[in-house]
């Protein structure tokens, strides 16, 4: 357990993907969830195509954000309840690698499917084809940041695993991702330079990969004390 070279990264990555797959029967459910929400939007908002395509960049990002929020809560709460978090905390290695493993698993189960599926939603909302590549790139980077930041909130709210409280903590921190993410797509739609906002997302990801695991391991230790 967690004694290999990668210090537990791979072990936790595999385990969490396996559990996600067992729990949901299969991994296609997140995909269906995205499609379903995407279907709902035209129902709630009058479905004239030009109106929809105007708000599409923002909607895809709000969707990504909510999917992360809905699922990130369980990142540590089950491990906390069944005692495996204790086992993680007493592993001799650093906490970083297992934590990054768990977050990567979360991204592979939530962020990646959404990225791969986004072209369908884009066509639905009559987004121009030229915006596809920037959209997918921004989603791939941005959802990873969302998972990382969400994990900080999940660690800090552990003893109460509070859905709404977690949302309150992380949503303000999600703002930059949301802004640069939708700005990337919007810029591509408007034919402007979309590399600049995309680069900002990449920078955010770099910062988050370095800082979030620190905050998370501190948070997990504190939570056990709570």
């Amino acid at each position: 357990m967690a004694n290999n070279l990668s210090g537990g990264f791979k072990a936790y990555l595999y385990r969490d993907i396996l559990i996600a797959q067992r729990d949901r029967g299969d991994l296609s459910k997140p995909l269906m969830f995205f499609l379903l929400v995407a279907v709902m939007v035209p129902l709630a908002i009058a479905p004239e195509a030009n109106k929809l395509s105007a708000i599409a960049p923002g909607l895809i990002w709000i969707l990504a954000l909510l999917a992360t929020l809905l699922s990130i809560e369980r990142l540590f709460s089950e491990d906390y309840a069944d005692g495996s978090l204790e086992q993680l905390l007493i592993s001799p290695n650093l906490l970083m690698m297992p934590i990054l493993g768990k977050i990567t698993a979360h991204w592979l189960v939530i962020g990646l499917p959404l990225t791969l599926l986004s072209p369908v939603i884009a066509i639905w909302f009559s987004l121009p084809i030229s915006a596809m590549v920037p959209m997918m790139l921004s989603l791939a980077l941005g959802t990873a940041v969302l998972s990382l930041i969400g994990a900080v909130g999940a660690a800090l709210t552990l003893p109460r695993q509070g859905g709404v409280l977690l949302a309150l903590l992380v949503m303000p921190l999600y703002m930059p991702v949301l802004i640069f993410g939708s700005a990337t797509i919007q810029a591509a739609v408007d034919g402007l330079n979309w590399l600049a906002p995309l680069a900002m997302l990449a920078a955010l990801l770099a910062v988050a990969i370095v800082l979030c695991p620190l905050a998370i391991s501190a948070g997990l230790r504190i939570a056990k004390n709570g």
Binding site: L156, L165, A218
Partner: protein, 254 residues
């Protein structure tokens, strides 16, 4: 020996008891200074300073709005830094300061938002506009709320303190990012239709009372922080003998 000296100094600084007793002496002075500054600033700003050429008298709300905004922003850093000090050096007192800073900062942010909205009606014709600075101020309010809310999650004070400190540190990294991104988002989407009147271009007669008010707000902030922290100390240290002694020494009547 030198080392020893350093540590007693450090220890004293971190001791809630020392803080409580020291601030007892500063408090009256600070209160008087705050009152003097605020009264001077308000009278000067509201009554003496000349009315604005374009906005008339409605501009006078600036004397509440700008100081509140400035101190609310600074307050976040004060909170996060005291949290960091607590985490690194395990000083209880700085956690207490952090905890006290959150509601004060939230209140000031709220004042900034409300006065801004009130000012917005005569100047822009609407209470709310999705401007970069305004939006980031709103998000700051939620960051404060998050820190306040998190402490209810923990039954253990120490854990609650540390968790709050971690969250405010994460927020501190994010505040500039949020500010920049919101700013950027604005310029990207639409040309700024509304511009703040630049501060340096202000007339000195209007500017001087503003400076007085800003100093007054900082002074008020320190006063509130000390009072909140003192209450927090009593709440947390109620078991300590010096607190018991303090309470029993109080005259029973009144």
């Amino acid at each position: 020996m030198n080392f020893n000296l350093q540590w007693t100094w450090f220890h004293r600084l971190g001791s809630p008891r020392w803080f409580y007793q020291q601030t007892q002496r500063w408090l009256p002075w600070l209160a008087v200074a705050t009152l003097a500054l605020l009264v001077t600033g308000l009278v000067w700003g509201l009554a003496i300073a000349p009315p604005d050429a374009k906005q008339g008298n409605s501009f006078r709300i600036i004397y509440l709005h700008v100081p509140a905004s400035v101190v609310a922003l600074a307050g976040y850093y004060i909170m996060a830094i005291s949290g960091a000090v607590g985490l690194i050096w395990r000083i209880k007192l700085s956690f207490m300061l952090m905890r006290s800073a959150a509601p004060i900062g939230a209140a000031l942010t709220f004042i900034a938002l409300v006065t801004g909205a009130i000012w917005g009606k005569p100047t822009w014709g609407t209470y709310w506009v999705w401007d970069a600075r305004i939006t980031s101020m709103l998000i700051l309010l939620f960051l404060y709320f998050g820190v306040i809310a998190l402490r209810h999650t923990y039954s253990n004070n120490e854990a609650a303190d540390k968790a709050g400190a971690v969250l405010s540190l994460v927020g501190m990294v994010n505040v500039p990012i949020i500010y920049k991104s919101v700013d950027w988002w604005q310029t990207l989407h639409q040309p700024a239709t509304i511009k703040f009147t630049g501060a340096p271009s202000m007339h000195p007669d209007m500017f001087a009372p503003l400076v007085v008010m800003i100093i007054g707000f900082y002074s008020f902030y320190s006063l509130a922080l000390i009072l909140f922290a003192r209450a927090e100390i009593l709440r947390r240290e109620y078991r300590a003998s010096w607190v018991k002694q303090l309470v029993s020494n109080q005259p029973a009547e009144k």
